[in-house]
């Protein structure tokens, strides 16, 4: 076939213990790509309307990308899909590591699970042999321990996706791990896996992945790699922090070029922004109530990127990544090493909770990776609980005697242990802040910051309203890995796609313009969503694509791998089709898109009195309407119109 995709999926019925291969027609890939697009196409009808996300009727899928294994770079992402138990919407989570090519090496573009097993099982595929094996002895073990045991049994070449105890205990903020601590964490899909009593998926296939024009793919990859390897000395990390201060003080902002972020990633990883982000208001502080004033450089230095880098003993690259933003770090105490704590984890467990204890960041990171719990949602839920504690909504007695004062790292360690194992107060908090607020009552919901039930990430819409828009309008609400004004600048899509608003290199503009709704901004936001669907259909890493569409040649790779001759506009149309299909999934499930709007506090309602984002409010309603209009959805309800569904050739009811 030689078009990059395998042309088949595997359906596993866990209730009956049966397997069924399905052939996917070429037209489906042309309309939806592979990966997330293929999953949206398949699951739209297969998950019944009103399905219980934790019931056997939900379908859990693991998909690879169209470009994965073809010699394209940055193509090592795998995605987990299903109806989210956290938000009740289309759910997806994205992860790097080595699992993505493993799916294709078994001969499939995706593996989907229906039904539920009675006892714990894991799926094992070796070459052409597919088995469901007993996982009773693994149940209760943490994600890393389980992966090690499975590799001991099936060889180190076997790739493992596995849930930890939090997924087993159906925590709605649990995810699915691979490569000993890299986790597809969002949307609570670990709980779906737990509800199916599926402990792990272990893959050891050897199939070859063939492209249409391998020489062209390699040529593109070599050129892309030259950009990745270009690195300037960045100096000590405090420079990044001071740059943040400068960006806060200046009345103007500058169009960013992804090469700058690439160099930061190469040097420190995502954590390169640990001090910069709080400075210029990109990172929320103290449960979104605080500001840069509460988290000055002298406090944020607890997560100084250079300090973290000193513990890094080896860089970690996901499959096919020339950049290597990850790392393995040594630590003292119960565990000897951990994946380098990511920016999101550090700020969610640090600044958001006012926690200045560096050692605790490493420990909490490793505990959550092992437990299989989302660090963003866990940190945000603890921050919420801390505010409730401060306000006297919950007492020390309610908290099992834990003194949950702001920044109490020891208390956080105890609490995280309880959340992972659903013990005592941990049981109440293990399902995220929205449900915790409902359970607590007494007006606690005012302090739970979420979009449709999912805690937004450590990027503040009051600094970049693009984040607030995507948190609110995406079919999977609360996600930071789709779009923002900053991402649009870095994607540089206008260089390839006709009709998009262009920017000059390092264009300078007044900050105030960021906070005004406009049609151009809606076009930019819609372009981010469409492009990210293409990226997620390809299995590419968002960080890689930040280099810009000319340096990381997504569209050219796709044409070289598939032999199609599609224009960038045609690929963007595919992105629009996937977006609309995901939204149609939500409508079919009875989701009211308006209800996914981000919590008022995070939108600047009321505006902050001090700090980097002082006095700012996001005109969210107008921005949401404009965005929906861009897709041809009803601008007042966010529901795709019949005309749009027909135009995109979507057969959705």
């Amino acid at each position: 076939m030689n078009r990059g995709y395998m042309g088949k999926i595997l359906m596993v019925d866990l209730s009956k213990g049966e397997f069924r291969e399905e052939t996917i027609r070429d037209e489906v890939y042309e309309k939806y790509l592979s990966g997330l697009g293929l999953a949206a196409y398949l699951l739209h009808d297969r998950i019944p309307a009103g399905a219980d996300p934790l019931g056997p009727e939900n379908v859990l899928g693991f998909v690879s990308g169209l470009l994965t294994g073809t010699g394209s770079l940055f193509a090592g992402r795998w995605m987990v899909v299903g109806k989210s138990p956290l938000t009740g919407t289309w759910g997806d989570a994205n992860c790097g590591g080595s699992f993505s090519p493993a799916i294709k090496r078994c001969g499939y573009d995706g593996i989907f699970f229906t039904g539920a097993s009675e006892k714990p099982v894991y799926l094992y595929i070796k070459n052409n042999k597919i088995e469901l094996k007993d996982a009773s002895s693994l149940w209760g073990k943490d994600a890393i321990e389980s992966e090690e045991l499975l590799q001991e049994q099936h060889g180190r070449g076997a790739r493992v996706a596995v849930i930890g105890p939090s997924g087993e205990k159906l925590s709605l903020i649990s995810g699915i791990c691979n490569d000993k601590g890299r986790i597809a964490a969002r949307s609570g899909l670990g709980a779906v896996m737990g509800s199916k009593k599926l402990k792990a998926v272990v893959l050891d296939g050897k199939k070859r992945i063939a492209s249409y024009d391998q020489a062209a793919v390699r040529k593109l990859s070599k050129k892309c790699n030259k950009w990745v390897q270009f690195q300037l000395p960045l100096g000590p990390s405090i420079g990044a922090g001071l740059l943040g201060t400068l960006l806060r003080v200046l009345p103007t902002a500058m169009a960013m070029d992804g090469m700058i972020y690439k160099m930061i990633l190469r040097q420190w990883g995502t954590g390169g922004l640990n001090q910069m982000s709080p400075e210029w208001g990109d990172s929320p502080i103290k449960n979104w109530k605080g500001s840069s004033t509460d988290w000055p450089l002298k406090r944020s230095k607890s997560a100084d990127p250079d300090k973290i880098k000193r513990t890094e003993f080896v860089k970690y690259h996901c499959y096919s990544c020339p950049l290597g933003c990850g790392g393995k770090c040594s630590m003292t105490g119960k565990y000897s090493e951990t994946h380098k704590p990511e920016y999101e984890s550090v700020l969610a467990l640090g600044g958001l909770c006012m926690n200045e204890d560096t050692d605790s960041l490493f420990l909490l990171n490793e505990m959550l990776n092992r437990g299989g719990m989302d660090t963003i949602s866990a940190g945000a839920t603890i921050a919420f609980a801390m505010e409730c504690y401060e306000r006297g909504i919950v007492t020390r007695e309610d908290m099992d005697g834990i003194d949950l004062a702001w920044g109490n790292a020891d208390a956080m360690v105890v609490l995280v242990h309880k959340m992972i194992n659903r013990e005592g107060i941990g049981d109440l908090l293990a399902d995220g802040s929205r449900l915790a607020a409902e359970r607590i009552g007494k007006g606690a919901h005012l302090y739970a910051v979420h979009a449709g039930g999912q805690e937004p990430a450590m990027h503040d819409g009051r600094q970049d309203p693009g984040f607030a828009v995507h948190y609110s309008v995406e079919p999977t609400p609360g996600r930071h890995t789709i779009g923002s004004q900053l991402y649009y600048e870095m994607f540089q899509l206008w260089k390839k796609v006709k009709g998009l608003p262009g920017k000059w290199p390092f264009q300078i503009y007044h900050k105030n313009t960021k906070y005004k709704a406009s049609i151009d901004k809606a076009k930019e936001a819609a372009a981010c969503s469409k492009y990210m669907n293409v990226i997620n259909g390809s299995g590419l890493c968002m960080f890689g694509t930040f280099l810009g569409v000319t340096r990381t040649p997504t569209f050219d790779w796709l044409n070289a791998v598939t032999g199609w001759n599609k224009t960038p506009e045609e690929y963007m149309e595919i992105g629009a089709r996937i977006q609309t299909l995901k939204q149609a999934f939500n409508i079919r499930q009875g989701v009211e898109p308006k209800n996914n709007k981000l919590s008022g506090r995070a939108l600047g309602l009321p505006p902050q009195a001090e700090g980097a984002n002082k006095g700012r409010t996001v005109p969210i309603d107008k921005m949401m309407e404009d965005y929906w209009q861009q897709f041809g959805w009803d601008s007042s309800t966010g529901k795709p119109t019949v005309d749009t569904l027909v135009r995109l050739g979507i057969d959705a009811r």
Binding site: N127, G155, S221, V228, V314, Y319
Partner: protein, 155 residues
């Protein structure tokens, strides 16, 4: 086109043991067969067959060679981007990333960990997008020559 086995097969089972994809079946001392859907065209069966009974993807009889003379990968660190594509490409799982820390450069590099498990298929070199891997026939053990000399000879 997958590999096939012809009537010259004596059923010795050597190919069955070396095949990394589990594509070969057959009873001892009986004609073996390759499952076309499972064959990944690595050529290990052909290189190992003492009866010269394996037909390769081009319809030619595959040549048997002593395992110690099978090609092995050599890694060029200056071109390598540590992307792990080769690790994944290896059907025999014989490559790994180094763990040692080199001060100033903490990137890990691939190396041939399980030398004896290598089947000489060259998939690692074929899939490397930046030509950082070369397949070379190991020098005979008796006449150990410096690696520079090997490079020169190869050019």
């Amino acid at each position: 086109m997958p590999f096939t086995i012809n009537e010259a097969c004596t059923g010795c089972g050597a190919c069955l043991k070396v095949c990394p994809a589990g594509a070969i079946s057959g009873e001892k001392k009986k004609l073996h067969a390759i499952d076309a859907a499972a064959c990944i065209e690595c050529g290990a069966c052909g290189r190992t067959c003492p009866s010269v009974a394996v037909i390769d993807q081009y319809g030619k009889t595959a040549a048997m060679a002593k395992r110690s003379r099978w090609e092995k990968p050599e890694f060029k660190h200056e071109a390598c981007m540590s992307c792990t594509i080769c690790i994944d490409a290896c059907p025999a799982h014989c490559l790994e990333m180094s763990e040692a820390k080199d001060s100033g450069n903490t990137h890990a590099y691939p190396y041939l960990k399980a030398e004896k498990a290598c089947i000489g298929c060259g998939f690692c070199a074929a899939e490397c997008p930046v030509d950082a891997i070369f397949m070379r026939t190991p020098a005979p053990r008796e006449a150990k020559v410096s690696s520079d000399a090997v490079k020169e000879a190869a050019q």
